[in-house]
Symmetry: C2
Subunit: 127 residues, 2 copies
DNA sequence: CCGAATCCGAGAAGATACTG
DNA sequence: CAGTATCTTCTCGGATTCGG
């Protein structure tokens, strides 16, 4: 009954926020930006806790938005590598600032954990 | 069964992203930053489509995170006003940049719609 | 009257097994 | 290895009710 994605085209920010607010979206972008082009399986291992279903779904969405590139290599076994587009650079820059902010608020991260993985799914932060 | 919010304290960015990725969170912050301190009912009308339950829930979370202030005025009828804390300023600055980015990508917003309201719920952007 | 808590249904996200 | 299908689980959201 409520609105679907293309009911109207209300406002740019809203559109962008809606995308980023999608489950796992930020994490995927963050991982791709820190570890560079990554294959599907590796990506799934990096974004700890994500299901294959969610990962494909989000990647498809990000691909449609022009944020990630999907490179299919028909070897045996096949290899699919995902990477950030040029457009994504601006977005990642903002995520970087978010990182800086988080460090100031919660203290710096342990220097070991490579790209800082999530523990809880976005939905679980209800407190 | 899976992880709850306080399982570990993994990484600052992750924590912050998890909070922002929560449903409606960004919209609420955006509205509060653009229209200033707002009462519950008005806020609910601004964040179009949100239920009172979700709004209370999110506001409680944001309050615990030190992002919003809750001011209760025991008049008749009672008035509860929510406003951004000082800490939220840094966060809003980032949202502002997100706004700029969105304008470059999707074109500028119509100058009328005050703070750009969402149409779809965050969960609905599955494409 | 304004704001918060409760119950229940719809629909999304998680887990697992399976296919190309 | 990459992705899909299916089933289960549980969050989200609406209406109603309670409290001040």
């Amino acid at each position: 009954m409520s609105s679907r994605t293309s009911d109207r085209n209300p406002c740019p920010v809203s559109q962008l926020m809606t995308m980023l607010s999608g489950p796992w979206t930020m994490y995927i972008l963050w991982i791709l930006s820190t570890v560079g082009p990554t294959r599907f399986g590796a990506l799934r291992r990096q974004v700890e806790g994500i299901s294959t279903k969610m990962l494909t779904e989000r990647l498809r969405m990000l691909e449609q938005e022009g944020i990630v590139n999907r490179h299919y290599e028909p070897t045996v076994p096949p290899q699919v590598t995902y990477s950030l587009t040029e457009r994504a650079g601006e977005l990642v820059a903002i995520l970087d600032q978010l990182n800086g902010l988080a460090q100031r608020w919660y203290g710096p991260a342990a220097p070991d954990a490579a790209p800082c993985l999530p523990t809880a799914t976005p939905q679980e932060l209800t407190l």
